[in-house]
């Protein structure tokens, strides 16, 4: 007879009638369940952490995956043309965005790329470190020191310069290259050689006296509007000089101190004439002329293919720019943009000139992702654009090779994108 607390027989083939069983305490019961569960739980790290593989080519023939090797498809641009895009030639001479590392001053005639002229605006700000006691001592001289790092045109000529004061506030931010600001009275005249690497302009004593207290105060930014650097009216010396804004400064001296005030806001006004017709199968993109190069690529036959890499490549012909006694240069850095249907211009990637191959090549994971979107018919860009890097004003030009269509087994030198596809 079963008693209260007895358990039914749990053996595999026993009678269904309950029999008396040894008493099992709740503690022992829990312990047995925990023991069993622990044994299985100990396996879990083995299950989920021990899983591994030493992959190899073994079994590849059994799996039977074939014909899926990556392949390169070179797609030439089906549309290459120059379009209008204002050059932005102003900014800050320090690391503040937008940066502008060069100002231009000069003028030259250029039958190939169009006549060019430029003049600049600049101001200064108080340096971070000032000698102790400087603010209590009188300034006795101020000198504008301009470090030249660029020449366009005939580098052997002399360039007359005028430094004017600015009497009203001006801002270079977002100003296109054809902007002008009202300038004030003439402060300094000087003639320098286009090859000089350092141009020094001594400010007159009257100006030093006028701005002595301001230069030593905390109100410099609000009280000094800077300078305009230009050629005398009507003068075309034959060269345009470029000055490095980050290395140039206003040197201020007292009887005991020499303090360099770095340049702050800078801007260059540029005017360019009409360029001559380029040679056959060439198109020339000019910096400072308000131009951009617009490209489109036909991806119709490659839609919905996985893309591992995309290289946009532009081959250039430097010989187009060659002229004895006249310095013209290819830009060091150019920028690839995407233009949306709404007209927004989005910077994608910069690249530098490869002098070995005379080409510019854009390649990055970002560019690959952009072109992959185009292959999936989801691109937000209706075309690509090329411009010279705007943070270093110049009159450089890119003579791009746009033809002819290559013969079979001949390398393609037209604007192109090399797609590494994984079908």
């Amino acid at each position: 007879m079963a008693r209260l607390g007895d358990r039914a027989d749990n053996s595999t083939a026993s009678s269904p009638r309950a029999r008396a069983l040894p008493y099992i305490s709740p503690t022992a019961l829990c312990r047995s369940y925990l023991l069993a569960a622990s044994g299985v739980l100990l396996l879990l790290p083995v299950l989920f952490l021990g899983a591994c593989q030493d992959p190899s080519g073994v079994g590849l023939d059994v799996i039977g995956e074939e014909g899926a090797d990556p392949r390169v498809s070179v797609v030439a641009a089906d549309s290459v043309m120059l379009d209008d895009e204002a050059d932005i030639t102003g900014g800050f001479a320090n690391s503040v965005t937008p940066t502008q590392s060069r100002i231009l001053v000069g003028a030259t005639m250029d039958a190939l790329l169009g006549d060019a002229s430029a003049f600049a605006y600049l101001d200064v700000f108080t340096p971070g470190e000032i000698p102790e006691g400087f603010r209590d001592r009188t300034i006795i001289s101020a000198t504008l020191r301009l470090v030249r790092d660029y020449v366009y045109g005939d580098s052997m000529v002399s360039v007359p310069l005028e430094l004017h004061r600015m009497d009203s506030e001006w801002s270079p931010i977002g100003a296109p290259a054809d902007t002008t600001f009202d300038a004030g009275a003439l402060l300094v005249e000087a003639t320098v050689a286009a090859t000089d690497t350092l141009v020094v302009l001594d400010l007159p004593a009257s100006w030093v006296t006028e701005y002595d207290a301001i230069l030593r105060s905390d109100t410099l930014a609000a009280s000094l509007d800077g300078f305009q650097l230009r050629l005398p009216d009507g003068v075309v010396p034959g060269a345009v000089m470029g000055f490095n804004t980050m290395q140039s400064s206003l040197r201020v001296m007292t009887a005991q101190d020499t303090v360099d005030y770095p340049l702050f806001e800078v801007f260059t006004h540029i005017e360019r004439g009409t360029a001559a017709r380029p040679p056959a199968n060439r198109i020339v993109l000019r910096d400072g002329a308000g131009e951009t190069l617009a490209l489109t690529f036909p991806f119709n036959d490659l839609e919905r293919q996985p893309l591992a890499n995309a290289i946009v490549r532009l081959s250039v012909d430097p010989s187009v720019l060659d002229e004895p006694g006249f310095a013209r240069a290819l830009p060091e850095t150019i920028v690839l943009f995407g233009r949306t249907e709404a007209g927004e211009r989005v910077a994608i990637l910069n690249t530098d000139l490869d002098e070995t191959t005379n080409s510019y090549s854009f390649s990055s994971a970002t560019l690959t992702a952009v072109i992959q979107e185009a292959l999936l018919e989801r691109s937000i860009f209706e075309r690509f654009e090329i411009s010279v890097l705007s943070s270093s004003a110049s009159l450089d030009a890119i003579p791009l090779i746009i033809g002819p269509e290559p013969a079979e087994n001949e390398a393609d030198t037209r604007p192109r994108v090399a797609l590494t596809l994984v079908p």
């Binding site: 007879m1 079963a2 008693r3 209260l4 358990r7 749990n10 053996s11 595999t12 083939a13 269904p16 309950a18 019961l29 312990r31 047995s32 023991l35 069993a36 569960a37 044994g39 299985v40 396996l43 879990l44 989920f48 021990g50 899983a51 591994c52 593989q53 030493d54 992959p55 190899s56 080519g57 073994v58 079994g59 590849l60 023939d61 059994v62 799996i63 039977g64 995956e65 899926a68 090797d69 990556p70 392949r71 390169v72 070179v74 919905r304 996985p306 591992a308 890499n309 290289i311 490549r313 990055s364 994971a365 690959t368 992959q372 999936l376 390398a411 393609d412 090399a418 590494t420 994984v422």
Partner: protein
Amino acid sequence: MRSIPTGILSAILFAGFLLAEPALAQSTNNYGSPYSRFGVGERLVLTSSMTDAMGGAGTAMRSSLYTNLANPAQWADLSFVGFSAAAQVRGTETTDAADATSRASGGGVRGIEFGIPISSRKVGMTFAFRPYSRVDYRAIEDGEIVPDEGDTPVAYRHNFEGTGGLYQFTAGLGVRLSPAISVGASAEMFFGTIEYLQRTEFPENDEYLETRTARSTRLSGVTGTLGAIVSKNNVFGEGDAIHIGASITLPAVLRGDFVQTLGVSLDRDTIATALDGSVTLPLSARFGLAYTGSEHWSFAADILYEPWSSFESDFAFGGFDPVSGINSLKDRLRAGGGFQVVPGGRRRTAGYFARTAYRLGAYAERSFYAPFDTNLNTFALTAGVSLPTVVPAARFDLGLEAGMRGTTDGMLVRDIFIRGTATINFGERWFVRRRLG
């Protein structure tokens, strides 16, 4: 009615964790044999932890403790509310004709079963979840490509990977019509995704993106299983019994869709139009014989037959393409047998190792795929122990399977595999009406 015991609650929580297996299998690097490429993947057979260790011979093997999924008629023997959950680890070494080898290992859920005696030893109900097939191959191919004229070559690596498989959910009933005859029926629901992935990476160049192209086939469908067991006691001696069993799972028509995608994880983009279609899995027929000599030992043997030559599909799988007409699938035939010894029989007072069950078995199988028109055979040994716990109806089973499949002739490969399984089997008596003496 008693409240649900702690052990069953713990087991149900554990089962909930293990039910995440499909997602876990997708996220962990579980790899196995290249032969899992064929059809819907490597066929997995789970009967019970007892009969799996006996060469998989479970069609006629009766037990009131183990929920045997080989034959629904066996569920009529249930006298305990039983829960069983199994996990497995496995290792595979693959060798080709050039003696190159690849090693892979993995693990996952082997199955979860829940049995309820509606009427003890007369009517039993079972619910089970287990994998039906598994795709878990990976192979690599290295190469170089020149991006453009004059550029330096860029190295790439193709990873060809297969993942996924089909899962099977079972719900059914076993009924004892008489002391000698039991019948059973169950509904089987199949579901799962089979994915072939090509992942191409460029390990030496950051500017190259890894591309992933996946071809995924998602399927689901329902079918049924019928089974019967005939038993006769005292055949050769007092206390022995012979059991003859048969079961058949009917062909299953699975409906689903196929889509080709590009990208990684949730950022997949569809690059080919999704296709709808169906797949017909062939029937699975089993016939088995079991002999229980005494409370100490049992012997069982089984034959399984699946006519994969009648496999139909609107989608392409490894070894089968309805468009090109490729069909490397053959009828599958498996024969296995094994025995179990319990030295102490049913004596509760016997020592621990005397109450432990020891199992040994073997099986041979002709695979359902024949790549390059070559039949592939598998030979394996199975073994296991069933460790008693302080609760008489709860046991902890460990199983081991080791075998060889295939050949290194031609372009084929030979697998040597080993699998370890751990199973918790809980049994408790519910719905017991207390009687006062």
